[in-house]
Every structure is written in C-alpha cells, then in structure tokens.
Symmetry: C2
Subunit: 347 residues, 2 copies
DNA sequence: TTGTAAGCGTTATCAA
DNA sequence: TTGATAACGCTTACAA
C-alpha cells in the first residue's frame, strides 16, 4: 500500500508538508496544497492507521464490549451507539463475549465466568488504545465490569455498575411496573395476577415494587398468592397461567412477552381468548407481541433510547474530560405502554 | 500505560529479550524467562497493538462490513463469524453501514447509495490493515462490493458477488422452493397458491423456479394466476390471501414468515384457521413462526451455517494463500423445512 | 543466551 | 512556507 513518503516524492515535497495538508495543521501554499490533494486522490492514499495511532497516542476509537450479540436487546442498542459515535466522528470497535454460546444460561451470576472473558476483552481494547469503553449487558443486574482505578472513561449500559465510579444506563423498571399496574387498574381490574421473572432478578424485583406501589395508591388489594415466579420462558407462562386462572384473577401482568405468549398457549388450548375471557399484558414489546392474536398490550423498552443516551453520555465525558469517573450516576430510561387488544375494560 | 522498555528496565534485560519471551521466538534462559513473565504479570503489561501492527505489517484482524446490523439475518451470521475467527485466533472488526437507518428501503438496488458508504468503510478497513474483508449483506441480490483488483482477500456473504473474483455464500433458494413444493404436493395439495416476494428479487425468482420444477416433477399443474407478488410485508400477505382464497387454492406458500403472518391475519378476521380450512407455509423460520397459532410450517434459513461456512472459507483462504481470488465460487447453504401445524394432509 | 540498532509510517518540534 | 529530524513501541537481523 502506498505511503506518505511515496506521495511526498511524487509531489517533490517533504512528508511533513503532506501531513500538514492532510491535517490542515499549518499554512501550506495553495499551489502545493492542490498538487498534494491531487496526487492523494489519484493514488487513493490512505494514512496508515497504526502509524497514526502510535504517533498521536489517541485513536478516536470507542470500544464496545457486548455480553452477547444475539441477545435480542443488543443489536438495537449497539446500532444506535455506533450511529451516534459515527456522527461524532468516533470509530467503534465491537467485542462480542458470546456468553450464551459459551455457557448457555449459567453465567448470569457467575462472576468467575464473566471475568474470564471480560478481562481479555478489556486488555484487548486497552492494547488497541481505545479512548473509552462501553459495556453493553444482555440483561439488568449488578455487574462488576471495571476496576475502580480504571485508566479510561467507561460506562455500563443496560445493567447496574457495581462500582460507584461508573455511570449506568438502565431502564426504569420500577416505573414500568408502576405504570402497568396503574393502567390495569384504570381498566377496572382489581384482581391482578403477576407472572414475574425469576425471584432474585433485578428486573423482577423493581417491577414488582412499582407494581405494588401503584396498587396501594389505587387502593386495590395486593395478594401475594397472585404473584408467581417464572423463568422468563414461554413454558413457565403456560404453567403459571393455569395456576392464576384458578385463582380467578381478571388480568395477568407478565414480566416479559415470551411468558405472555405462554399464557396465550394455555388460553388457546382451553378455548379462551385474551382480551375477552381474561386480560393479558406483557413486557418488552418484542416483535412477537404484534403477531399474537389478539395483539398483546405490552410495555415497550426503547433500546434505541438506551443506545443513544449512553453514547451521548460517553462522548460528553470524552469531550468534557473524564466526568463519568467523578461519581456514579444511574440514568433511567422510561418504558412506554403499547396498548393493543389483550386488555379489556371491565365493570 | 506501561511499555516494553519499562519492563526491560525492571528486569534488567533488553527489550528484545522481553519480546522474545513474549513471542517465544528464540531460546531464552529459564531464569530470565520466569523473571520477565513475573514482571509482565505483576504490571499487567499489554503490548501496544499499533506498534505491533506497524512493525509486523500483519494484524490478524478480519474486517466485517455489515449492510445493516438490525436486519434480522445479520446478528446470527456475524455472531458465528466472530466465534469462528476467535477460535482461529483472528480478531474481527465490524463496520455497520446502517443502510436502513440512512435510507429506509430505498437502497436495495441503488448502486450510488451503496458505494457512498461502502467506499469509506473499505478505506477504513484498509487503513487499519485488516488481513481480509467479509461483506455481510442484508438480503440476497447481486452486489458490487469490491474492485476486481482488490488488494486483500474478500468474500461476499448472503448475496451474490457481481465480480467473479470473489466467492459468495448464499442460501439455496432454488432448492428451498423445490423442497417446499415437494412437501406440499406430498401432503396431497394440487392447487397451490404462492405469495411471492417482489417480482424482481433474486430470492423470489429462484424459489419460484424451484417451485415450478417440483410441480412439474410431481405432475401437478402450475397456474400463473395462483402466483401473486407481495412486498415481503405483512400487509401484502393479508391482501393477497384474499385473492388466492377466492381462487380456491388449498395451500399457500408464502416466501417469508411475515407475509404468512399477514395471511393468518386474514384468516383470523374471517373465522378461518390455518391447517384446517387452508394450509399455509412460510419461509425464514423467524421467531414469530413458532408463536403463530397454529404454529407455522416454514423453511428455516440457517444463518449460523452461513456464518460458519463463510468464516471457514475466509480463514482457509488466508492460510492457503489468496485462493478466493482465483475464481468465483458460489457456496449454497441448504434450508430445512420445519414441520409445524399449518399444513394439513388432504385427500 | 543476550544486547544493539534499524525500521515500520506517521506527526510534532525545531530550524531554515 | 517548507524541510530535516526525532519520537511513538515494537520486532528482528545481526553482532557479541
């Protein structure tokens, strides 16, 4: 590949002149400037990125570490991050840790497994001399990503940073649960079942706490028997639907769309229909929710908002100095209820 | 960040010794080796990637250019490519062109739009000195990715390379259409409607040609009136379902699951049921197909196979010399019919 | 077995 | 306005 030196020879000037033309760092006579630009264009010269990086000690690259690219939340978040960075003239480099591929579902709370792939990923990015690192989690939990004395700005996306030194961007689960309960109550429901996620999960706990708060405000009774814990999978929705229907609830709030689909399975098998015989609400607004019959009312998580917000913060930190390191900040992105046909107004 | 020079000082040896220990290039006495390794470990020293790359003129990085990361096919393909490359000790760097974000649906056949983002993407990868480039398309068509005299090995994934110099990995659409027709005929259907994709689309044409071939072999009449062209969207499935049902077909082959979902919409509105009143088959095996009721029989595209296959080829080309440049090869990855509940045996 | 020194392609500093 | 030169951190040929 052609180098600056060759361009310099072809133009009959020194390499510093080429460099100066290309970077506009100092005055170069219009004549030589044009000559240089012509040759650069003709030859298709591209500065060697490594040489530049080495000399400047600054790369304008932001590293992204994704827990798992095939987690459904990851592509839209990362897509927006990349878009924003590109607009701000930063490059991005993505490392996909592929946690699911490596350990299926057994890594969520296994610190050792996480660190065994996270450390090399961080090392790699540091050796590439990225300006900052964005950690994109696959789902919310407290996660120990970076050491307190981490040498570059960093941010935790879609999970809570264990260390208070790093800003986190998460969804507002508490408000999400609260809003959904408010909505169901406003539709006349007073016996509301919940198919929650796993009991120790952060999403689960926060959504449930918001849910209870709204019931209290609405003076609607809360019955712990109406709260069942699933495993986020379709099958558990099916199973718990049966239990809750036996309790005579008029509505079921499922903490994800997949379990809601499991409820639909149960209804289908038993000749019942969501939005008629019982009301169903989901969470996530995954693609499937618009394809269920009747279409599922659910709480949309705006992954693009999460992506944009975190990229903005990251770049602001980079421009303003290392502000993110000053202290923890937890940014909460709100969810939004998408009203479809699975919740019926009663009474 | 700590450099090799500092490590050398701390160990009381020269930098070349450090380098040799780290790369195992020549004999170093066990004593110094240990001493060096200890210090490296203690300090967390990481070689500077830029300096290495510059010196070695070899990066072991494979560049991936994705047309669109949020196209549903892209994440699983890319995930597998990354996995395979990682196993083979190659790094990957991903550039997402975000075509959809930039131009919605208007870029498919717009060479100018494509080139306006592809050229900078390629330049960037070349200036990073990647060893090879993999182009990951969002959907099949003939695409003009690289100039014939491209300087590094390259491969086109999920689309057909215009230039015969580059290998393409695509799905076997012809066989896909053939298999589906065979299957429907084997279930007793003789009046089979088709909701095809857009008429000029490569997927459409190849699937249709396979479809006709199978009908011919099965001595089942082919009626052009039973073939309708949609736009791959749900709405067109809905609309064309009505037209085909009026033609009294007993089965409808939809060229993607989304249009099949549109057919379901129509059936639902009219009190009909797939797999009972009429048989429906889809294509893609998207997530939704397992959530439709009754679950949709469809032709699965194995994106992971595509990813693995292309990564294998790429790395083989890199190891064996630049074989990919020798001549065009079109690798076809077969689809696989997933039998669910939407196709009924008749007669 | 180890050290010295050149060189990879840029940019920044200094001198002209 | 321009050019020579050093320096970035590493690997490798050659010398010791």
């Amino acid at each position: 590949m052609i180098t600056q030196k060759e361009i310099a020879q072809m133009c009959g000037v020194s390499t510093s002149t080429i460099s100066n033309v290309l970077n506009g760092k100092r005055k170069v006579s219009e004549a030589t400037r044009q000559r240089v630009l012509d040759v650069v264009k003709k030859t298709g010269y591209q500065p060697n990125y490594f040489a530049q990086g080495m000399r400047k000690q600054k790369t304008n690259i932001i590293g992204i570490i994704a827990e798992d690219l095939i987690q459904f939340s990851s592509p839209p978040i990362i897509e927006r991050i990349m878009a924003y960075c590109e607009d701000m003239h930063y490059r991005t480099i993505l490392i996909n840790m592929r946690m699911y591929d490596k350990w299926l579902n057994t890594w969520y709370n296994d610190e050792k497994k996480l660190q065994s792939v996270l450390k090399p990923a961080i090392s790699e990015l540091l050796s590439i001399k990225v300006d900052a690192i964005m950690y994109v989690a696959g789902h919310a939990r407290v996660v120990n990503c970076f050491p307190d004395d981490f040498e570059i700005p960093a941010i935790v996306v879609y999970a809570y940073s264990k260390s208070p030194k790093f800003t986190s961007i998460v969804i507002d689960d508490e408000k999400g649960g609260y809003d959904m309960a408010k909505y169901l109550v406003s539709m006349g429901h007073e016996k509301i079942g919940v198919i929650a996620g796993t009991a120790d999960n952060l999403h689960t706990r926060k959504r449930l706490s918001g849910f209870r708060k709204a019931l209290k405000e609405g003076k609607v009774p809360y019955n712990p028997k109406w709260v069942r814990y699933g495993d986020w999978k379709r099958g558990s929705g099916h199973q718990l639907a049966e239990e809750l229907i036996r309790e005579d609830v008029t509505a079921i709030f499922c903490m994800n769309d997949e379990m809601a689909a499991g409820v639909y399975d149960y209804l289908y098998e038993n000749g019942m229909k969501a939005g008629e015989d019982i009301s169903i609400a989901g969470y996530d607004n995954m693609e499937i929710s618009g394809y269920l019959k009747p279409a599922l009312t659910t709480n949309e998580i705006s992954f693009s908002q999460i992506g944009i917000k975190s990229a903005e913060l990251m770049i602001k930190a980079l421009t303003d100095g290392y502000e993110t390191k000053k202290g923890k900040e937890i940014i909460k992105v709100p969810c939004r209820i998408i009203e479809r046909d699975s919740v019926k107004r009663i009474k």
